[in-house]
Symmetry: C2
Subunit: 429 residues, 2 copies
């Protein structure tokens, strides 16, 4: 595994050069990436055909095979998303605060790249392009490990990315490196001297097992057990429309609703109406005893309340107060995205204050929790962490800041003792 | 260890109530803390005498005994620091961004408490008061483990803190809890469902061993191996003054300089002058071969360059270019605080861009890297992390943000397909 150590060391070296690289250079490298993808289109498509053929041979499931596909249309989408990154504001070098500590002693808090990012992702080859371009825009070096089912496609893509960054500046040749095995990635987890952040894009089990085996910070995402609470003051038409969207519009994703909570005073009006729409969409309901008096549903077990179905299945529970809804969400939820439907401002505020989730929503669908919809541009992932970056994470999750202090020979001994100078601590524009 | 799990669960419950607690309530609890410290002054001083007596009996070293002392004067300082927290701006509820996603669909990114913080600290009892008050101001519940040598003092302080928060609202009674043994703290490391952030305030070994044994994010601080690079364009008088301050003013702390790097073109003018001042202050020099031709120094070994002396010992190395200084710092340093002395703006910029440290400084002493001097108020610690919070960390390191999205029944299905609405993504004031 000495080779992985060398990869990580080289990534660190490049990341130091990227720290100071002007945005024009980083943008030129992104442009070169887009050009290289176009130039190698045939090669990429034919590598992808090999992966697809192997996937069918080993009997990979149709949804996975669908995600694995990377045709001309999808390559075109990747190119578009790189070009939109080029036009985005530089996340590096933003002055977050400027303070005069004393005359001529000026402190600036300025954003800068994190350094070296390790990413492990599954099947979708476009993830490789997306993450490489996000890392490059934000001045980070990246070590990538893709799914073995996309091996051939990823190999070609990694060469394309590498040649693109090299073409702009030879010193950047190791800014994007592809690891070939899971064992190599496992080894990377020990290299906290070189790797500054890990981003696993995969199952909860993957995220958890990575957090268990490393000192490196992990930008992870637990499951998406999202709730909608229909308050007694809800507009019933709105509640039906929003709850339908949150469950049915695209159930396979983490921001889809898994549990519907309904205030008892509105349940007999609301539940039968939403249930008949769900029935037509083929949604299976699992309910508590009170729910089952009002609509057809199988009994929900204690484990069901913790479940992320990612499918047309929905838990339903009737609660007798706002607090009960909040407690349910904080206990069974995954702190991802939870919504309330109500006309009552105070109740909405209370819900949004007390529900401890990355996104809290009022009178709209949980499905809006997404980097693109939030206007963040391309998304690194959705984080349920309580530090660094939370919720949909865009470029800003790939930068940190440093303090830059400039003086004129200032020394600390002037600020201690009997004749001590005092600090001005004046905020500057 | 079932009891620790209960402690952590209760902390989580309280933290949920603290999420929505208005700042007036949190400030009243801080005021009650200050009052309680004053009221119990005699009790605290007498408990501290017991600790001091035990410490002398077991032969604790004089500097440690000094740090353990908590007399009326220090209690007064703690009270002052609590009162200054009361007057500080609320770190919770700050709107970081407000975006219109579409007509009537408004997204806000708002700061909020992290939740439950676990803190382990050594000897100094004032740390208990400082951390409890910082956590309370920022709306976090805290589980504390102090050093066993301060056992008696910590016990009284913990009761005082607890009664203070209870007096304001009974539901806050478990906002501040003291753990009694290191085993209890070890057990806490497994409870990532309840604890959101760990802050070890102690040795590098402690920080590293905690990072090794938990999934919970750690706000840690490696050693402080700080450098000053005296460029060939340095003002020599200034360089002498600043380098003297950085090493001698208070050598026992993490932001003191451990290694001096000098450009070869200025070495024969600068080094003898600074060395004679160091000699008078009793600083022992360890140098590379070139340095030893100019001043009296013992040979520096490869390990010395990595060392944090925290004492009147200094490594000196002569470099032939800016790049060599930068590479030395990035390789041997601890990414804490590093300074350059030069009159050349372009050289300074290059240094500050490329040195990968939490604080980079130009023409001033590394000793300025400190929360108080930076104007952040009380300090949680100095972080060498590359995520979440870096450098001196004040209250802002104890908050994160959540997204609050308010609509009027908006659903995602309106934004897909042929007649899709588009997002406005308009930044609002």
């Amino acid at each position: 595994m000495e080779t992985i150590r060398r990869c990580a060391e080289r990534a660190k070296e490049v990341s130091r050069r990227l720290q100071g690289a002007p945005v024009e250079l980083r943008n030129r490298a992104l442009q070169a990436m887009a050009d290289e993808l176009l130039r190698r289109e045939d090669e990429i498509v034919s590598a992808n055909r090999k992966d697809l053929k192997n996937a069918r041979a080993i009997g990979l499931s149709p949804p996975l095979i669908k995600r694995l596909g990377y045709d001309r249309e999808r390559i075109g989408e990747s190119i578009q998303s790189i070009l939109s990154l080029v036009s985005m504001e530089d996340p590096v070098g933003r002055v977050l605060a400027r303070t005069e500590l004393d005359e001529g002693l000026i402190l600036e808090k300025v954003t800068c790249p994190i350094g070296v990012v390790g990413v492990i992702f599954e099947s979708r080859p476009d993830a490789l392009v997306q993450i490489s371009s996000l890392c490059l825009k934000s001045g980070n070096a990246v070590l990538l490990k893709g799914g073995s089912e996309a091996k051939e496609t990823n190999k070609v893509l990694a060469v394309a990315m590498k040649e693109a960054v090299e073409s702009v500046d030879r010193r950047f040749e190791d800014a994007i490196q592809l690891l070939s095995t899971r064992e190599e990635f496992r080894h990377l987890l020990d290299l906290d001297d070189f790797v500054d952040l890990l981003i696993p894009r995969g199952s909860n089990e993957l995220v958890r097992s990575i957090k268990d085996s490393t000192r490196i910070p992990v930008l992870g995402h637990a499951s998406g057990v999202c709730h909608t609470y229909v308050d007694r003051d809800a507009d019933i038409d709105m509640a039906v429309r929003v709850c339908y969207d949150a469950k049915v519009q695209y159930p396979a994703v983490c921001n889809a609703m898994e549990t519907l909570l309904v205030h008892k005073d509105i349940a007999s009006d609301f539940l039968p109406r939403v249930a008949s729409r769900y029935e037509r969409a083929g949604v299976e309901l699992r309910g508590d005893a009170e729910t089952r008096k009002l609509v057809r549903a199988s009994p929900a077990t204690e484990e069901d309340w913790f479940r992320e179905y990612n499918d047309l299945v929905l838990n339903v529970r009737i609660v007798s107060a706002l607090e009960e809804a909040i407690d349910h969400i904080n206990k069974y939820g995954s702190h991802h995205t939870d919504a309330i439907i109500t006309r009552n401002d105070a109740v909405a505020k209370r819900f949004m204050d007390d529900v401890d989730s990355a996104s809290v929503m009022w009178n709209c669908s949980t499905r809006f929790a997404d980097g693109y919809r939030y206007g963040l541009g391309a998304e690194v992932g959705i984080s349920t962490n309580k530090t660094h970056a939370r919720g949909p994470v865009g470029l800003e999750g790939l930068v940190i800041y440093k303090y830059r202090l400039s003086g004129r020979g200032h020394v600390v001994s002037d600020y201690v003792g009997a004749k001590a100078r005092s600090f001005t601590h004046r905020e500057l524009p």
